[in-house]
């Protein structure tokens, strides 16, 4: 735990100094939400239709801006062979991986909250969006996304076409997470209650744990 916290502190300090990843994420989230809002405004949709497509838009935009920027935090580790240095310490590869996952989770979660707020503003959604349940859905979906993204970003960090390869291999694997997040958040927004005891609720609760365990176990093979 001490090693995990030390590594997390290192990543957060580096991010605080450079601000590269978080700025890229926020800028991309903002720009994409503006572009989508411009596109939708010409369709002259009525408020109830806009409300129905709000959650699918939130999650599709999330996949775009997060996939394009999550790799940056991994590339730091390959600069000056930092990752090799970390692996030469007694820190277990799983701990190094978990520290990276927690770091990416915190950044992605915060920026996703901002992204939802931007989209709500540009689309003129009058209904109250942010409640405990909605934030919980964002946290769980981000928790399912981050381990996969971190592992695959590590694999593609030294590849040719790395910027294109990561979305190509990551997005199909995120389909179950995407479905669960969209179904739960749409149901919450329309009816006021998310069906947590249904299939999608159970899936969204299980996926973060499942992906974290599997990806942590597989990480050592990707850096060997």
């Amino acid at each position: 735990m001490k090693v995990l916290l030390l590594l997390l502190q290192k990543d957060m300090r580096l991010e605080f100094r450079r601000k590269e990843t978080v700025l890229a994420m926020v800028s991309l989230a903002l720009l994409l939400s503006v572009v989508v809002s411009f596109g939708l405004s010409s369709a002259f949709l009525n408020p109830s239709t806009t409300l129905k497509i709000f959650c699918p838009l939130v999650w599709v935009l999330f996949l775009f801006w997060s996939t394009l920027t999550v790799g940056r935090s991994i590339e730091y580790e390959f600069e000056s062979s930092c990752l090799e240095g970390l692996l030469l310490t007694r820190a277990a590869p799983e701990i190094i991986f978990l520290a990276k996952v927690v770091h990416n989770f915190l950044l992605t979660f915060l920026v996703q909250i901002l992204s939802v707020a931007f989209l709500e503003l540009w689309l003129g959604i009058e209904k109250q969006i942010f409640g405990v349940e909605f934030i919980l859905i964002i946290a769980l979906a981000t928790g399912a996304y981050t381990p996969l993204a971190t592992l695959l970003a590590t694999m593609t960090a030294t590849a040719r076409l790395k910027n294109v390869l990561l979305p190509l291999i990551l997005l199909p694997l995120l389909i179950p997470t995407l479905f669960a997040a969209i179904e739960l958040s749409t149901e919450l927004l329309i009816s006021g209650q998310a069906p947590w005891n249904g299939f999608w609720g159970c899936l969204l609760v299980i996926l973060p744990l499942m992906y974290t365990l599997i990806c942590a176990a597989l990480f050592k093979f990707t850096v060997r």
Partner: protein, 217 residues
């Protein structure tokens, strides 16, 4: 042995073609286009079988338990991609005839599309990935993809019932004439044999390339 097995597969294939186009009568509602079903189902099962081989080869490759594991993984990913493409194309041809549209957001089609994308990603990673670690990377991706596929299939079943358009021929006992069942079984047997032979052939080639230049194929 090297010539006997391909000969048997050729004979099976010819028999399947004969049964499909000569013996089996036209289906009452869809007519001759329904015959694509006998290749479509076999290709789908062959694709799933290749994915199972992919998972086992990936685990063996990660554990360094078998020197041919990576070659078998490479072969099974390519063969699974081939059969998945056949399923997609034959499904679209059948869909155009049955629903007047090549693709609908329908559970089976979407699950195969996602599987096709995962297999495409694996092939791209093999080609453009970091060649020093590509064996491990592709094996890791294969394990995650193989675990995600059943998740996708189950998830899609929970979509609204109106979206479930794929014919449930066997479950709804549509093969009442035994000639239909025979043609389907021949198609499945042919595709599974072809899949196994292609994986064996391709893995041999990949292993020889690997040994030949000392790098992964």
């Amino acid at each position: 042995m090297k010539k006997i097995i391909p000969s048997i597969i050729w004979l099976l294939g010819l028999l399947a073609l004969y049964w499909t186009f000569v013996v089996v009568p036209n289906e009452r509602v869809m007519g001759p286009v329904q015959r694509i079903f006998y290749f479509h189902v076999g290709a789908a099962l062959a694709c799933y079988a290749a994915c199972a081989v992919m998972l086992v080869a990936a685990l063996l490759s990660l554990g360094n338990k078998w020197m041919r594991a990576d070659a078998t993984l490479k072969a099974s990913v390519e063969v699974a991609f081939l059969f998945c493409s056949i399923v997609m194309v034959t499904g679209m041809i059948w869909g155009k005839a049955a629903w007047n549209t090549a693709f609908r957001f329908e559970p089976r089609l979407v699950s195969f599309l996602v599987l096709w994308l995962m297999l495409l990603g694996s092939n791209l990673l093999r080609t453009f990935g970091d060649q020093a670690k590509v064996k491990q990377h592709v094996a890791v991706l294969a394990v995650i993809s193989a675990l995600t596929v059943p998740l996708v299939v189950v998830s899609i079943k929970f979509l609204p019932q109106a979206a479930q358009l794929h014919p449930q021929v066997v479950q709804q006992q549509g093969l009442r004439d035994e000639r239909f069942s025979q043609a389907m079984l021949l198609g499945i047997l042919t595709m599974l044999s072809l899949q196994a032979w292609l994986i064996w052939l391709r893995s041999r080639m990949a292993f020889m390339e690997e040994q030949g230049d000392g790098t992964s194929a």
